[in-house]
Symmetry: C2
Subunit: 373 residues, 2 copies
């Protein structure tokens, strides 16, 4: 029953994430492990913070990476900001808005649900109406880029509404960070979380987050302890912030942070706007290729994310069989539908390092061949 | 302000963890990323589970790695097992027993504290007395190997006491797993968590855990939802367990799991007992070397962990200056004291891949030289 070393096949990752990780980032991942209090490592953390500030387009001091995947980044935002009884307007137009609602409930918060159809952007008018009916809401929570549907919501407009009602905003940018326009300070986002494995193309396992000064003040003024010790920012920030001396909280995922650092250095080299444009351009190429195959998008053109293309599975086509064939014969991963869209859509990712011409051509050619069998 | 790639120095890691990661494990870490639902990855997860069962010496079906560091593994045990009002006898003989107490409180549990001096094992008589005074306690929580002091407690005896009182046991094995005798099933441990970065010598960021059938039943019978969505085992196990189809919960830290898998393959190749013996043998060598320098252990001989050697800083020696010199001149990391022992002790780790003759000789020689300056 001896188990031997694992050698994964080399896939092309065009699902909803993780996306292809570049050789450069994998090389960074495998550099020698340092202690989590080593001055050399602390220096890298400082750089990582500045790189994340650039990616998020923010000056927020409280900008760092949660030592766990995006779901933990989401939880980090809710458990630190909410106290029992707090009312939160939460928008659901896909799987992840529902996960936000679940988090609110588990913190003892009171969710006010604003629902939109899966595959559509959040409707600002409904949010405005929800605030009108609930002027005591302390927070607005929504998903900027719904990974389950490929719809992009107008974060700037939604944040402006919240501000008019004196509410703070909590935004899911798991799939948008690095891939589409996102301006934390300019748009007035108060708390935001993302993932390392989407448009940043680092390996999965880390969640970049950022908190505005107003959010930081809410955390400082809490009357109750944060229910999670691991995610308690009053403790975590003793490690990530602080001039000079860092207080041990938990052992940071050292090598994963190297990889995130490298992926952000690459983003800085390319330039944020250039990366946004690349995702846009490649999306247009993919759209054209899919149109030739008669494959249609589920999201109206104006609401579409370039990096997550949710398309209708053609009538009579066996969803699982096609994905299995792409994997077996082409080492190509595309994503299945999630939640209410399971079995109905495919999700084709064009994220980060995977957003390139070669991948688009390969994916369209592979789909053409498999669908014609 | 352009930031360039990070190239860490090559240290020798003899602190309280992370420990030196072998080239083999780093190579595994850098293998091509797979999707978290890829059949090839699911196959690796199944192997990883069997390898962890071997390391923990358990048949527990609910054995896997939490997608976050040991502190999250601790929190995973408490949030899933405890419900508000549950009484827990919790032993504190160092930093990490205190962290357990903090977790209990944040879950709404009622901690009954059993205190022992830092640097000593947990006293079974005190635990017996605590159960006598609190026969309604539902859990006993203690640290098997206190990373802050280097003391090893008698987990088998403590678990037997808990069983007599019908209580389940929650055990911190962050520093013991792979490095000293630990037999989950034979000793009757109900919930246990560890870390990837100690005696397994994988990079930091994952927490191996295991739950007995009795613990799993307590989780199934919960009347309240687990307060953490990310750590909720009723959801997590839909991804890690299940024959065939896995339900997406969060995106697994794919590459980090490759590395943990490889480190466990290496443990299996060496053999668990051989690894325990190696840690013991190298500890004896280190003890002899330190004795020649007049450096003394803070833990009585019978309670000492071989892999974590907490020693008194010789009188008149500048703690920080010595550690800084070891780092600067020898690329050698040893650990500072933590909590009540800060400034009073050094913690010299001999963990996993770092527990070898070369490291022992190097450490003793470097200390000799730096202390004689």
């Amino acid at each position: 029953m001896a188990i031997s070393s694992f050698h994964p096949p080399q896939r092309t990752l065009m699902g909803p994430g993780p996306s292809d990780v570049s050789a450069r980032v994998l090389a960074a991942l495998a550099r020698p492990t340092l202690g989590h209090l080593d001055p050399a490592f602390i220096g890298m953390m400082d750089e990582l913070k500045r790189l994340l500030q650039y990616a998020f387009q923010t000056e927020n001091a409280m900008t760092f990476a949660v030592s766990a995947p995006g779901s933990a980044g989401m939880e980090c935002c809710f458990v630190n900001l909410l106290e029992p009884g707090d009312k939160v307007i939460v928008c659901q137009n896909g799987v992840f808005g529902g996960r936000m609602k679940e988090n609110i409930e588990r913190c003892g918060g009171i969710p006010v649900l604003v629902e939109d159809p899966w595959g559509r952007a959040v409707d600002p008018d409904k949010v405005e109406a929800a605030f009108g009916a609930n002027p005591d809401a302390k927070f607005l929570a929504f998903v900027h880029a719904e990974t389950s549907t490929g719809a992009c919501s107008d974060a700037q407009t939604l944040c402006a509404i919240a501000k008019r009602y004196g509410a703070l905003t909590i935004v899911d940018a798991v799939t948008s960070l690095g891939g589409s326009p996102l301006k934390v300070d300019e748009w007035g986002i108060d708390a935001i979380y993302s993932g390392s494995q989407k448009c940043l193309s680092a390996p999965p396992g880390l969640s970049p987050v950022s908190f505005s000064d107003a959010a930081a003040e809410v955390i400082r003024q809490r009357k109750t302890k944060v229910q999670s010790w691991f995610l308690d920012l009053s403790l975590v920030m003793g490690y990530w912030a602080g001039e000079g001396k860092r207080a041990y909280h938990h052992t940071a995922p050292v090598n994963s942070l190297y990889a995130l650092h490298e992926s952000l250095v690459m983003l800085q080299e390319e330039g944020l706007e250039a990366s946004w444009q690349r995702h846009c351009d490649l999306h247009q190429q993919l759209k054209q290729g899919l149109a030739e195959l008669g494959i249609e998008f589920i999201v109206p053109e104006g609401d579409r994310l370039p990096q997550l293309n949710a398309v209708t599975i053609p009538a009579g086509v066996d969803d699982a069989a096609v994905r299995a064939a792409l994997l077996a014969d082409y080492n190509l991963e595309i994503g299945a539908g999630l939640g209410a869209l399971a079995g109905k859509v495919w999700r084709i990712g064009l994220m980060g390092h995977a957003a390139n011409q070669r991948n688009v051509d390969y994916c369209v050619a592979a789909l053409r061949e498999v669908l014609s069998r």
